[in-house]
C-alpha cells in the first residue's frame, strides 16, 4: 500500500508524517525544495485564533486548538512569545467589543493588559495605544519544523523526492488511481505506482487537479512582508481591528517581520515584491510603530495563500481561512484521490488528519491518527551546541564551517534555509563565496558558480524591494564588492 503526496509544504509533509505514523508507505513528490512554496514564505505566526475570532470563528477555533497541540509536538521549533492585540488611537472601539465577545464565546485565552505594562514590554509601540489584550500567540520556526517532519517521515521509511514534479496521473479503467508520472530537473520521466494520491500542492493545487479532473476554484492571495534586522518586540503585535493589510509584527529569530497584504492573484508563483508594495506596507505602520521607517530594513518578500472558495463574490480578505478536503470521486474524478486546500500553517496537522482520514476510508483500512501525541523528532544538529571557538563563515548569523558541513548534500540555496547563512544584514555579501568554497572539492565550478549567482539574484531582489536607509547603502556596497572585488560581472 503506497500513497503519493504532491507537495512538500507544511500540508504535504504533515500528511506524509500522519500516513507514516498510521503505517502507510508514502512518497512525497516536490517540484522544488522544501520550504520553496508558501510554507517557506509566510509570516511565522503561530496564531492563537484571535485574529479570526469575529469573522471566521471556525478557523479561529481550529487555530486555537492546533496552537496548543503544536506547542507540545513541535517543542523547540515553536517560540511561545505570546502576543498582544492593541487598539490604536482613533480606531473603532465597537469592533473591540465585538472581538472581546467573540473571544469569550470561543473560549480563546485572553487577558486585558494595562497600558503601563504594555509600554514596558513593547516600548516601540505608539504611545497613544488605547487598549491591549494578551493572547497565546507564538512564533513558528517554519524551516526547522519542515525539516523535522521530513526527517520523521524518512525515519519511518517514507521517501521525500525533491526537485521532482508530478506531471501526469494514471487512472485504471475502473477509475482508481494507479500511479503518477514524475519529471526530474534533468528532464527524465518515471512512474511511481500508488494506491492513493493526495494533492497538497498549495497554490498549485488546482493546476495539479487538472492532471486528472476539472480544475477547482481557488482564490489565490498574494501577501508581501518586510524584514527588519533586529528583534524589535518580544511578543507578536496585532492591530485590534478587522483583519486588514499591515497589521502584524512577528519577532522571529533575531529579526522582525512586518506584514502583510492581501491581493487577489491568478499566479501561484509569488514573484518578487515591488518597492511600491513595500513602501505602502511600511506606511501602514504609522499608528502602531511610528518609528518603523527608521528601523534597519533587510529585505521584502512575498508568498501566495492557497485559499479556496466555492462562492466567487468575496474579496480574498473575506475568504475563509478554514480548509477544505475534496474527494475527487464525488466530483466525477478518479477514486482514491483527495485534494487539500485553504487553511493556515498552524492548522497543517489538522488538515493532514482530515485528509488522511478521508484517504484511509478510500483504501478500506482502519488506522487512527497519532500525530496529536507523537513528538516530531528533533534535528540532530543544534545551532547552540556547536563549539564556541569556531570560525564563522557567515558572521551576521554566526554560521560556522562545521554547521555547513552538517548538510553535505545541500545546494547553496538549501543551505540558506537550513543554516540561516546569508539571512543577516549583509545578505550574503561577505559569506556566500566562503560557504561556496566549502563545496569546491566535490562540486564542479560551473555548477557552483551558477548556484552562487542564483542565490545572489535572490538576495538582491529582496534587498532591492526594500531599498531605503542603511539597506540602500548595503545594497550599493554589495553591488560594488560583487562586481569590483569578486568580478561577478553579468552582462545585462
Amino acid at each position: 500500500m503506497r500513497v503519493v503526496v504532491v507537495g512538500a509544504g507544511a500540508t504535504g509533509l504533515g500528511i506524509a508524517w500522519d500516513l507514516s505514523l498510521r503505517g502507510i508507505k508514502v512518497t512525497v513528490v516536490e517540484q522544488g525544495d522544501i520550504a520553496q512554496g508558501t510554507s517557506g514564505r509566510f509570516h511565522g505566526l503561530l496564531h492563537s485564533g484571535a485574529r479570526y475570532a469575529v469573522r471566521d470563528p471556525k478557523a479561529a477555533r481550529e487555530c486555537f486548538e492546533e496552537n496548543k497541540i503544536l506547542r507540545k509536538i513541535a517543542v523547540g521549533s515553536i517560540e511561545p512569545t505570546g502576543g498582544y492585540f492593541v487598539e490604536p488611537e482613533a480606531s473603532n472601539s465597537a469592533y473591540s467589543q465585538q472581538w472581546v465577545q467573540a473571544m469569550n464565546r470561543l473560549g480563546i485565552t485572553m487577558r486585558e493588559t494595562s497600558l503601563g505594562e504594555l509600554r514596558l514590554r513593547v516600548p516601540e509601540l505608539h504611545p497613544k495605544i488605547q487598549r491591549a489584550y494578551w493572547v497565546p500567540d507564538g512564533v513558528i520556526n517554519g524551516f526547522e519544523l519542515l525539516f523535522r517532519m521530513r526527517q520523521g517521515i524518512e525515519m519511518q521509511g517514507g521517501t521525500v523526492r525533491l526537485f521532482t514534479r508530478v506531471s501526469g496521473v494514471k487512472v485504471e479503467p475502473l477509475g482508481r488511481v494507479e500511479g503518477v508520472e514524475v519529471q526530474s530537473r534533468q528532464g527524465g520521466t518515471e512512474w511511481i505506482a500508488c494506491d492513493g494520491l493526495i494533492n497538497a500542492a498549495g497554490p498549485y493545487a488546482s493546476e495539479v487537479a487538472k492532471l486528472f479532473s476539472h480544475p477547482f476554484p481557488m482564490r489565490l492571495s498574494r501577501g508581501v512582508m518586510l524584514v527588519f534586522a533586529e528583534r524589535k518586540v518580544s511578543a507578536v503585535i496585532n492591530r485590534l481591528a478587522p483583519p486588514g493589510d499591515g497589521d502584524i509584527l512577528v519577532p522571529h529569530h533575531r529579526i522582525s517581520i512586518w506584514g502583510t497584504s492581501d491581493e487577489e492573484t491568478s499566479d501561484p508563483e509569488a514573484g518578487p515584491p515591488s518597492i511600491e508594495e513595500s513602501r505602502r506596507l511600511l506606511s501602514l505602520a504609522r499608528d502602531l510603530f511610528p518609528e518603523m521607517h527608521q528601523w534597519r530594513v533587510l529585505r521584502a518578500f512575498s508568498g501566495v495563500r492557497p485559499l479556496y472558495q466555492a462562492e466567487t463574490s468575496m474579496d480574498s480578505r473575506h475568504v475563509t481561512r478554514d480548509f477544505t478536503i475534496i474527494d475527487h470521486a464525488q466530483m466525477g474524478g478518479p477514486e482514491a484521490v483527495v485534494s487539500v486546500v485553504g487553511g493556515k500553517w498552524v492548522t497543517y496537522r489538522l488538515m493532514a488528519e482530515k485528509a488522511v482520514d478521508a484517504m484511509v476510508a478510500k483504501l478500506g483500512i482502519t488506522a487512527t491518527c497519532k500525530t496529536e501525541d507523537v513528538l516530531l523528532p528533533p534535528l540532530g544538529e543544534s545551532r547552540l551546541e556547536l563549539r564556541r571557538d569556531r570560525v564563522n563563515l557567515c558572521e551576521c548569523e554566526e554560521v560556522s564551517g562545521e554547521e555547513v558541513a552538517a548538510w553535505p548534500e545541500a545546494s547553496l540555496g538549501q543551505l540558506r534555509t537550513r543554516t540561516w547563512f546569508s539571512m543577516g544584514p549583509c545578505q550574503g555579501t561577505f559569506c556566500l563565496h566562503r560557504v561556496a568554497e566549502t563545496r569546491i572539492a566535490d562540486g564542479d565550478v560551473k555548477t557552483l558558480d551558477s548556484e552562487v549567482m542564483s542565490l545572489r539574484r535572490e538576495r538582491d531582489r529582496g534587498m532591492a524591494a526594500a531599498l531605503w536607509g542603511d539597506n540602500a547603502r548595503q545594497w550599493a556596497l554589495s553591488r560594488s564588492i560583487r562586481s569590483q572585488v569578486l568580478a561577478e560581472v553579468e552582462s545585462e
Binding site: I275, R279, L282, H293, V297, D389, R390, V391, L393, F430, H433, R434, A436, E437, I440, A441, D444, V445, L448, V452, L467, W468, G469, A472, R473, A476, L477, R479, S480, I481, R482, S483, Q484, V485, L486, A487, E488, V489, E490, S491, E492
Partner: protein, 400 residues
Amino acid sequence: MRHVVIVGQGPSGLLAADWLSALGAAVTIVAASEGSLALWSGSFDFRNYDQDGSMVTDPWQWWAEPSHRTFAQAWELSDWKRWWTALLRSFKDIGLIVDLTLPRENRWIVAPTGRLRPTFWCPPWQWTLSSSEPNEPVTLVDVGSLLDTPINWLKARTRNESAWLTETVALRRPDAWRRHWSGLAWAAFLDQPAGADWLITESIQAREHMRLSGALVFPQVLGVATTERLIQRISDAVDRPVFEYALMPPAVGGIRIRERWRKSLKSRGVLFRPGHVVEVTDSGVRLGESAGRIAADEVVIATGGMVGGGLALNHEGILTNTATGERGFFSGELNALTSVGVGNRRSHGYVVGRMVGGSDPDRHGDGGAMNVWSVATAVQAIMGERAVNSWLSTREEGPG
C-alpha cells in the same frame, strides 16, 4: 593662500588633496569616516568592460572612440596620459615603488573566487596576468584557514585547463597563529621582526616543494608598513619573483596606500578633521551636531555616492546629498543627483569621485578613471588652467 575644504577621505578626496596642495592651496579634509580604500586592493581601473559586459583589453583604444565616452567627453588621449602620469608620480611621492611608464593595455588580476578581472594600473605587489587565458606557471602559497583566499577556487577552475600550470605550497603555522586571524591580523604579525623571520624561514622550507619556476604568490597579508622589504627578502630567499593576490575587504593593499598617502599629506600640511558635513555654503561648510563651521574659499565634495555615504535614500524614495542637503527623487539610477558641479563650481562646490554621475564602476570598471578625470577637472577649475599646465609640465620633466 587659497583654503580648500575637501569633504571625504576616499581615493578621490586624497587625490584632490594631493594635487591641490602641490599646487599651493591650503587644504583641510573633513570626513565622517573611512573612505573606500580600505575596501579594495588599490588597482586603478581605466575601462574594464564594454557596454555589453565583455572585457576590454585596450582601454586607450576604447577611450579614443568619442561615442564611447560616458564622461570626460572633452578629454583627448593626451589628457589621459598627462593625468595618469600625474597620479603615478603622486604614488611615487608617497613611497610606492612605481614604474612611471603607463600600461599600454589592461592586465588581469585574480579575484578571491578565482575569477579573472581586467584592470589598468596595479600597485607593485599585485600579482597580474597578461591575458585572461593565462599560461604563466605560478606557485600559490597557502597560509591555511585564511578565509577568502582563492586557492581552492583557482585549483578547481584550472583543473581542466592544462594550459595553466599552478601548484600550491602550504606553510606551517607560526606559534602565534590563532584560528580567527584575518588578513589584517596576519599583516600585523608579519610587520613584526619575528613574523618576518618566520616567513623567510618558512619560504625557504617551502622552496623544497616547489616544482614550478614561475612567480611565488601569497595572499595579500605581507605587512602594511614593511611590504616592499618583506617581498624583497622572500624573493632573495627563494630566488623568484614574489607577488600577492587580493582578498576580500578589509583590503590590506588599499590600507597600505591609504596609510602612506595620509602620512605624506599630513607632512605637507594637509589637515585632517573628523566631522559630518551637513551644509555647503559660499563661505565654507557647516558640520552636524553643532560642531561648528569651517571657512573655505572653495569646497570639494568627495563623498563617495551611495556606498561612501554621500547620498542617502529614504523610505519615500527621496535621495539626499548628505553634505549639501540637496534633495531629489530617486529614479532608480544611483547616479541621479550626482552630476552637479563637476569642474564648474555651482552653488554647492565641485563634485568628484563616486559622487560624479555618468560613470558606473560596478558595471564598467572605470572607477579609477572617474577619480582621475573628476579630480583633475576640479583642480583645473580651482587653481586655473595656466597654473595647472605649468605644474604638470614640471612634473613630466622633473627627475623621477
